[in-house]
Symmetry: C2
Subunit: 685 residues, 2 copies
């Protein structure tokens, strides 16, 4: 079916306000960065040029003052963590390299000093860092250990005689790897190392370590290698750092969660080394929060470009011999792009919920353990799902634009290459979802051993409830698997929000309950057997985590939709959002429709409605596609893609005019025939 | 579950022989290209360098004599089309840019002259083309028309007075676009244009048009623009060509299927312009055939790299405190990679079937209309499914290698970027699957109108049978939808090949029958309504085509497996192939499991076995993963990825040795504790 011929009357600003959320003003400020003459690095060039240009962009961002927003008021900031992140995410519109290099400089390097350091360290290093005067690295990952940070090999051994730490890379696998700002621009690094004092290892801690002198030459004992060419983010100078007995003063330890006295005595406000480790890492959650948002920005840009092109580009005749069909009038084109548009709305609106959690915890409004755990679980899961989503979306957009989509000037391939590593850094997505899954199940290794099965079920119920901002439905885990959800099945309409929520949450419930059941014998097993049993359930654990995160995103969309309920002036926007929610929900249900049927959640009769309903929703939404991308709030200065700004329509008008004139001229009767014969042939192909 | 501890004893050469097929010798010759000093272009550099290096590689390929194999014997060739293609596909191991630039030069430019030209033209242009002395372009696609070639705007108007054709680009949308060899190296082009003589348009024909003089300067009337940077294939110099009244002699028309006499009289051995058009295009099917194979080569390289790394890389401890777990022992890692390995076996073995069809038709053994149609349908469908598959596989491999996968030196991102456009060029995959779907349904526009519904069902049965090398099961379309397939349901084991084939073919049957039913009213509709109805079924049509192609691939794998049936010495290889077939089959069934249940093909009880069976197959195959990739026949000279050649194991050994020595030295007791504490924490995360 061609696009809906009776589209809704939408005000993109109303939808834009929902998408941009509580920090809309900061978001718009971030978007305005593209106007700065240094903001947009060139798309191509050699590595040196790209890196230098990206650094200029980072400095432009610092100039704007945005990088101070998240600092405490006493340091000239606004204690506005979410506002800072919202503005910073929008730097993707300038370039993902800029956004990531800025993330390294301000979020990771500056952030580690802010969250792990003391007031003196803030004064000495944090302010110059946020001004982009002191350029630095975040040296955590090693070649041998990326996901498993606790097992890094770098050591910082305290020498009480000199009151110094000695930083050493004891073997090649302990080389710091993929470190942004290392290859060219960094003067210092926050180095994560196993802290050893008085012969005892206290686990991973962070130290401020100068790595280059004023002129950019590596300091004695510091070896720096350039990672060279990567699959994307060419403006970021990633490199390797290794240390051969590099000495730093005792006071270079970022000592908020662990300190060493001059005599070598270790102290920490947190007794458990495990808890200390996760608390330190937890302060760095901002990276995951901002990648979730940055992925949404990139997906929006991709869809904005592909949908604008899809509304102009024509190929093949359909209903008559001469008028070619607009791509977005093809059902398959709608089915390719509209569900991704709905997914982007879900990811975007859910991100605003994540920003709320983030602001609460980091501003101190609610920094309880529980609030932190909810934040960390959401950040991990949202980041994983959004970044994968962005890659799929950018690829589909690339393909939907055909050969034009492959041209660098149309941005899609560049955005996708740059976003590629988003699924790996700041926590590999698979590892992150496993983390979410384990939180849903409770800490298997530490807790399950001492609880009987009845207790496991209860434990899971409680744990999960802690991590859900909404009702995740996990309270229902006691139900027998396969039991019919009566309220769901009596809903007649597949577009009922209640039914969708029921299906999505029943799946999470059941999967978690099943997993708990499967893992029950682990309590009485040897460590090796228990590890094997957990491994046999790893795939299901990750699937359950994904289902849970998707439920949260669906619920965010549903909540946003209901915020328009009482305003008759926004009835059409509410209707559009309801279509978006339904398309998102039904797409999720369709992907696992076998599960919903097999577990008796969805009758076959109802299940058969899902596909056709998705097609109808796509057609309806396609009728409003222009408004739905206009709501993203981007202009040509953000898209910067030739094909998104009307060139197709211009060229088609020229061709039409040529054929019209040819028809009018007696001596060129041939042209009409050319077109006619060709199109007749094409229509038959 | 960790990898199977009781792997089969496999001889990679036995599996390799099946994968390499009938043209194994040519394939190995193609693989040996990497030994030529000019074969491997640099991975990075500016466009000029990359293009020049790629051209040297193309010349190296010509030097090897490989480019003559597909020529007829009288021109010094071997009439060995499949052998040529097999060798040429393997050029991907040198670089996809080389393969594609060679494809433009020898397959498209040379191929068009060979298949559309006459003996004199062969002598004049084909031999220098295949020696890479005369570099040329294949100028078909225009900015305004890519998929719909019949509607291109370029005209070639015959001028009987001068006995010349006048080539013109009448408006911007008619500019030839994305033309390989155009931006830098091409001296001539085969230009596709609407041929007009004596005031009558005869549709699209191809002409040989010089575009640059000896010194490389564009000829008068020829405008050449550089496409500049693309998302990949940077070694290929794509560009735009437009023509302002460029004159070529009458004898430059490649006149096999259409000629113009000196006085302007048009003649053709094929009366119908539509049939003529598709016959001309059909001679160029080699491009699609070779992309199918090239995609398989790229997927093999990716899996070879990622699986070798996955067998060495360790992260997190599991069963004990010190020994970290190898990635491929994680269930999720197995679930990520093993189904893709099975898919690659299916795509590779099915490609050999396609090569057989190709050789039959092009060598003249069987070039009946029916054989050509089967070939074209297979080529379109196989290419679409394999190229999408390659992109998914390369991305999953990239992610499975974490940060290391993102480094250019490890090849995965480069391969993926280069393969990206494979899903678009030589026929957009969506358009190709639609073509397959329409062939399955019969030519809707031309045929359906005159057939009643009973006839439609019969017609579809016959049509489809023509396109299936195997029994596609389409003979069953008469059955009522939902009817139980008794033979299937009495099979107890989900690993039964018979059951898998039944399920996969029943899905094709039913979808085609449903589509025919849905489209039935079109016979009596207006053109506009009929077009709308077809469009409403476009998504299902494409899904049906994909299901059909996947069935053919499954059947190719099944046939290959049974070729080992009678050889007890190859029992383990047969067992491994059976696991691969089952994993491929069950993965396809799992993706659409809702469908199989809803249509009563699979009981819920049986359906519940699918997921766990897939997991078990992944674990078993992981136990033989090293042999299964060794069967691809690639060495370090083809992979050229640092992480695939043992560096991880080396670094781990160093680290282990460091910790061992530290334990042995009384003054370094600390190190063991570091490791221990860290790993304990990690295990609890």
């Amino acid at each position: 079916m061609t696009r809906s011929k009776t589209p809704l009357t939408l005000d993109p600003a109303v939808l834009g306000a929902l998408l941009d959320g509580a920090w809309a003003a900061e978001r718009r400020r971030g978007r305005a960065l593209v106007e700065h003459p240094d903001a947009i690095p060139p798309v191509t060039g050699d590595l040196d040029e790209l890196r230098a240009a990206t650094l200029r962009g980072v400095k432009a961002l610092a100039e704007s003052g945005a990088t101070f927003r998240s600092l405490p008021e006493e340091l000239g900031g606004a204690n506005d963590h979410a506002g800072y992140v919202a503005a910073f995410e929008e730097a993707v519109t300038a370039s993902p390299s800029l956004q990531i290099k800025a993330g390294v400089q301000f979020g990771l390097f500056g952030g580690a000093i802010q969250h792990l350091g003391n007031a003196e360290q803030h004064a000495q290093w944090l302010l110059p860092a946020q001004r982009a005067e002191l350029l630095g690295c975040f040296a955590m990952t090693e070649i041998g250990h990326g996901s498993d940070v606790a097992s890094i090999g770098t050591t910082a051994v305290y020498d009480p005689e000199e009151q110094e730490f000695v930083i050493t890379t004891p073997f090649r696998a302990a080389t710091k790897e993929y470190i942004g700002n290392a290859a060219a621009h960094g003067r210092a690094a926050v180095v994560f190392a196993q802290l050893v004092t008085a012969g005892v290892d206290h686990g991973v801690h962070a130290l401020f370590v100068p790595i280059r002198d004023e002129s950019g030459v590596p300091l004695p004992g510091v070896t720096i290698e350039d990672d060279g060419r990567k699959g994307g983010l060419l403006g970021v100078d990633n490199g390797r750092l290794s240390f051969d007995g590099v000495r730093v003063p005792r006071t270079n330890l970022l000592n908020r969660y662990g300190d060493v006295a001059p005599d070598g005595t270790y102290s920490s406000p947190i007794d458990s080394p495990g808890r200390r480790f996760f608390t330190m890492l937890g302060t760095l959650v901002q990276g995951r929060v901002s990648l979730d948002g940055a992925a949404v920005v990139a997906a929006k840009l991709g869809l904005d470009i592909a949908i604008r092109y899809g509304l102009e580009r024509r190929q093949f005749t359909g209903a008559d011999d001469t008028e070619e069909v607009v791509l977005l009038d093809y059902q398959q084109h709608q089915r390719r792009l509209m569900p991704l548009l709905a997914e982007t709305y879900a990811n975007g609106i859910a991100h605003e919920v994540l920003l709320e959690s983030f602001q609460q915890v980091f501003s101190g409004t609610d920094d309880s353990d529980e609030a932190r755990q909810v934040l960390e679980t959401q950040a991990a899961g949202f980041k994983a799902v959004s970044t994968w989503s962005a890659l799929d979306i950018l690829q589909e957009c690339r393909e939907a634009c055909g050969g034009a989509g492959f041209m660098t000037e149309n941005r899609l391939t560049g955005l996708r290459s740059d976003l590629d590593i988003f699924v790996t850094f700041e926590g590999d997505n698979t590892v992150l979802l496993q983390l979410v899954g384990k939180r849903l199940l409770g800490d298997y290794a530490a807790e399950f051993k001492n609880i009987d099965f009845g207790g496991v079920a209860r434990f899971i119920g409680t744990q999960a409830a802690e991590h859900s901002l909404y009702r995740s439905g996990l309270a229902n885990v006691g139900r027998t698997i396969g039991e019919v959800l009566t309220p769901g099945l009596t809903e007649r309409r597949i577009r009922s929000g209640r039914l969708q929520q029921m299906l999505l949450s029943a799946r999470v419930d059941t999967m978690v309950a099943e997993l708990a059941g499967n893992l029950r014998p682990a309590a009485k097993m040897s460590r090796a057997d228990a590890a094997a049993l957990l491994n046999e359930n790893q795939h299901e654990l990750i699937e359950a985590a994904r289902a849970y995160i998707e439920l949260l995103k669906w619920e965010a969309l549903d909540t946003a939709l209901h915020s328009l309920d009482d305003d008759p002036a926004r009835a059409d926007e509410a209707k559009a959002l309801r279509r978006i929610r339904d398309l998102y929900g039904l797409t999720l249900i369709e992907r696992k429709i076998g599960w919903h049927i097999m577990y008796g959640r969805l009758s076959m009769n109802r299940a058969r409605q899902v596909g056709p309903t998705i097609s109808r929703l796509c057609t309806k939404l396609a009728g409003n596609a222009a408004d739905l991308v206009a709501a993203f709030g981007y202009g040509p200065e953000h898209r910067r893609a030739t094909i998104a700004e009307g060139i197709e329509a211009e060229r088609q008008a020229e061709a039409r005019e040529h054929y019209r004139r040819a028809r009018a001229q007696a001596d060129h009767p041939v042209d009409e025939k050319v077109l006619h014969a060709a199109r007749k042939t094409a229509a038959r192909s």
